[in-house]
């Protein structure tokens, strides 16, 4: 650095030139930035909160990518809106034995490059994901597969190491063409057989998908889908309100619903969701390993009040991990209604009388820096204070928070399970062998009876018997108060009024965009701002 020097020297022309260049540079750079106008008739713009980092279905992990993939790729089976396996590339399947499945493929399915999809592509994709050297995030879920065979181009046979009742739920990965899948830059412009093909990808900015004319499901009604990445929540909502984002799904906070509903030409829909919000306990903690303390906490929380305050009523109280719509959800479980007097009694019994400072005990509650998570923590802390539990709320950046939770370094925390449709997740979350990194039993819960029920349910081929075992397990988990089941927030989405046909999938996937279409009376339903000639949209249509 140079000290300030006062100088009578007359400035040389170079400085003036530099100054002029600084002023002109942006203008010059803008010359090439101006040529960009993404919208055309039949284009639907989706607002995303995060970048889809990798759109290779064998490697994708982030929610943003996983939700977009069904538009680009077809899978052997897909999960319908109710979360049940349904035919996609596999037209039909047979279970020859509890460890042997045969899938008969649909004919006439082509990849975006025109090559026909065959059993060899299916086998290639699954073998690739099972190969440890490829580090696929799906490798763990496919560990049960012993071998894959393709007796003919339209048949795929899976042989399992042991019976696994939820096997079909794990066959939803997109199928990659064997002739292209090994290319190093496959993820830069992936080729699948889905209803949309790759258009353009500007990381951090936008992903454009084009309708695939040769789709076996028929050409989609939309010409293009533009996914715009707008990380800032306020900006995203303003863009929707301004009519420059047509669809927001998975990322509308309840407080914004009245704001978006005021927007002409925008329809906001809410419906019961299956995302499960819970309060987690560390069962190895000296205070929390006593079930009476956990039950006291459950009784102290006024869920109805928090749902009203935080969700404006847009949530349902929850009793178990699986939402009531799930075929394996247990209806009659311990629900711990709001009862502060009982909570105090339970704490008294557990040996926590009121101390001179008016409290009975102190606990720490970890949360991420997510605003809603922090507000929720404060509301829960308020309820717990009323029964004598002092709560210290500690919020951390997501990676740190998540690392702590998995390491068991917490007393209380709250998180949500999104889009759970497969009841085998109970094994993953509550079995004693599922402590991280083997699973998500973060509270280190161990109950031999629950372990037994969850293990047998995995091997059970009779659906009724399996359901009975899963329900018994859920009852025991609720009785042990491993989690406080809080609520299922509603699914909220906003769609520009000129479109119709969108159907929200429980996992947040954009699958139904293949059937979304423009309403015939579309120009009339344009928002007034868009009608004025928004630069993104071009002329009104």
């Amino acid at each position: 650095m140079v000290p300030l020097v006062e100088s009578p020297t007359i400035m040389r022309p170079k400085l003036v030139n530099l100054l002029a260049a600084t002023l002109l540079l942006p203008g010059a750079l803008l010359g090439f930035a101006c040529s960009d106008n993404p919208a055309a008739p039949g284009t639907l713009v989706v607002g995303l909160e995060a970048n889809p980092t990798n759109l290779d279905p064998r490697l994708a992990t982030g929610a943003a990518a996983v939700r977009i993939l069904p538009l680009l790729f077809n899978s052997l089976l897909r999960l319908d809106p109710a979360g049940q396996p349904a035919p996609e590339l596999a037209l039909a399947w047979e279970t020859l034995s509890p460890t042997e499945y045969v899938f008969h493929l649909r004919s006439g399915v082509h990849f975006h490059d025109g090559r026909e999809l065959t059993a060899a592509d299916v086998r290639y994709t699954y073998d690739w994901m099972r190969d440890p050297k490829n580090h696929s995030p799906n490798q763990g879920a496919l560990a049960v597969v012993a071998a894959i065979a393709t007796p003919d181009p339209a048949t795929v046979r899976f042989v399992l190491k042991e019976p696994f009742a939820s096997f079909l739920q794990n066959l939803t990965a997109g199928i990659v063409p064997a002739h292209l899948g090994d290319a190093k830059d496959f993820a830069d412009a992936p080729v699948g057989s889905g209803p949309f093909r790759w258009g353009e990808w500007r990381p951090g900015e936008r992903l454009v998908l084009q309708a695939f004319d040769g789709s076996w499901e028929g050409r989609p009604r939309l010409d293009r889908v533009v996914f715009r990445i707008v990380a800032n929540e306020t900006t995203r909502l303003l863009e929707a309100r301004r009519g420059r984002i047509d669809l927001l799904w998975n990322n509308i906070p309840p407080y914004a619903v009245p704001f978006l509903r005021e927007t002409p030409g925008l329809a906001v829909t809410t419906r019961p969701g299956i995302t499960y919000q819970y309060l987690g306990f560390n069962l190895r903690d000296t205070i929390l390993r006593d079930p009476r303390v956990r039950q006291a906490i459950a009784h102290a929380i006024d869920r109805d009040r928090i749902i009203k305050a935080l969700y404006l009523g847009l949530a349902r109280p929850a009793a178990t991990l699986l939402a009531p719509e799930n075929w394996a959800s247990a209806a009659e479980v311990e629900t711990y209604p709001h009862d502060p007097a009982r909570a105090r009694r339970l704490l008294e019994e557990a040996g926590f009388p009121v101390r001179p400072d008016g409290t009975r005990l102190s606990l720490s509650y970890k949360t991420s820096t997510d605003r809603q998570g922090i507000e929720m923590a404060d509301l829960v802390a308020e309820d717990l204070r009323a029964v004598g539990i002092r709560v210290e709320r500690r919020s951390f950046e997501w990676g740190t928070f998540y690392g702590d939770i998995k390491a068991g370094n917490f007393q209380l925390y709250s998180l949500r399970w999104v889009g759970i449709t497969d009841p085998d997740q109970l094994h993953y979350i509550f079995h004693s062998a599922s402590t991280p990194p083997a699973g998500a039993n973060r509270g280190r819960y161990a109950n031999a009876e629950v372990d037994r029920l969850l293990e047998t349910s995995r091997r059970e081929s009779d659906p009724d018997a399996r359901r009975a075992e899963l329900i018994a397990a859920q009852r025991q988990i609720a009785a042990d108060c491993v989690y406080v089941s809080l609520w299922y927030p509603d699914d909220i989405y906003s769609l520009a009024g000129r479109f119709e046909g969108f159907e929200p999938y429980p996992g947040g996937q954009y699958t139904s965009l293949k059937q979304v279409r423009l309403k015939t009376s579309s120009p009339l339903s344009l928002s007034p701002l868009a009608r004025r000639g928004d630069p993104e949209r071009g002329a009104p249509r």
Partner: protein
């Protein structure tokens, strides 16, 4: 050795220091990229396999040595999440940040110079006081607050400009104004102070006595010399501009290095974090070096 060569040599330890600090900081924060990459269903064997493949099972000192070795060969490694070379990932985002920073700088100079000059020439008048109060406000407003405010006014109420995104000239105006406001305020105050110093100089009195008009005195004689310290401040404030870009890019969905950096930190993508910080540090150090060089060119007394 001349001063430029000396300063150029000094860049090496500076950048190396920044990189060392960042390397150890990102490795020390809790959170495991391998678990984030493989998902929660991965077995312990898979996790340790990937950890070994990425070299994350080696002692930190050895990883650091390998990182420096790679850097010496121009290799920053591969992004864990994009699964592409870090240079390629950053290369895609850098032009957007450069454009934003340059535009913000332009906005700052366009606002600061006229205000600073007028305030100095009309010293202690209402105009001067208003300009200085305005610049105080400009410095005090954080980007994450000013950005949404400008969006609400210009995009939402008036409908003149796009809310966010990078779609042509109009979309640059709000982010550049948001990012440039604080710098404009600082530069306006600096220009005013510098002009006041120069306006009292003997050579200006001589110029006036020779009958040179007031505009020519201010623009041709005073401003040229008053701008020297302003150039230094521009260089020094470039760092603040880059850090402000991280927030501004988030508010305006601007696809630059700031957005990438936040994403990389959340995902514990160590090579990408190191790459982003390297690029930002290099920009900062380079602009300061340029300022020094420029100063040496302008003022012969600094060359020795």
């Amino acid at each position: 050795m001349n001063s430029i060569g000396r300063r150029l040599l000094l860049l090496v330890p500076t950048v190396l220091g920044v990189l060392t600090l960042v390397f150890f900081l990102v490795h020390l924060i809790p959170g495991d990229p391998v678990e984030l990459m493989l998902g929660e269903t991965a077995s312990r064997a898979d996790l340790s396999q990937l950890r070994a493949d990425l070299g994350l099972d080696r002692p930190l000192g050895e990883q650091y040595a390998r990182f420096l070795g790679g850097l010496a060969h121009g290799d920053l490694g591969r992004s864990f999440f994009y699964r592409k070379p870090v240079f390629a990932v950053i290369g895609g985002a850098l032009p957007a940040t450069a454009l934003l920073a340059a535009a913000a700088m332009a906005v700052a100079l366009l606002i600061a110079l006229p205000i600073g000059i007028i305030a100095a020439v009309r010293r202690d008048t209402l105009t001067d006081r208003m300009a200085m109060v305005g610049s105080l406000l400009g410095v005090s407003m954080p980007n994450f607050w000013l950005g949404p405010l400008l969006i609400i006014l210009f995009s939402f109420r008036l409908g003149w400009l796009p809310v966010s995104g990078k779609e042509g000239a109009a979309s640059l105006i709000l982010p550049a104004s948001t990012l440039g406001t604080a710098l404009a305020a600082i530069l306006a105050r600096m220009t005013r102070a510098s002009m006041l110093d120069v306006l009292g100089e003997d050579y200006l009195r001589t110029a006036r006595a020779k009958g040179v008009g007031p505009v020519t005195v201010v623009v041709r004689h005073a401003l040229r010399n008053a701008l020297l310290p302003v150039v230094t401040i521009v260089g020094l404030q470039f760092g603040a501009l880059l850090s402000g870009a991280v927030i501004t890019e988030n508010v305006f969905a601007w696809p630059g290095v700031g957005t990438l950096l936040i994403q990389a930190i959340t995902a514990r993508d160590y090579p990408l974090v190191q790459g982003c910080v390297l690029v930002i540090a290099l920009c900062y150090v380079f602009v300061n070096f340029l300022t020094d060089v420029l100063y040496a060119l302008i003022d012969p007394r600094v060359r020795t």
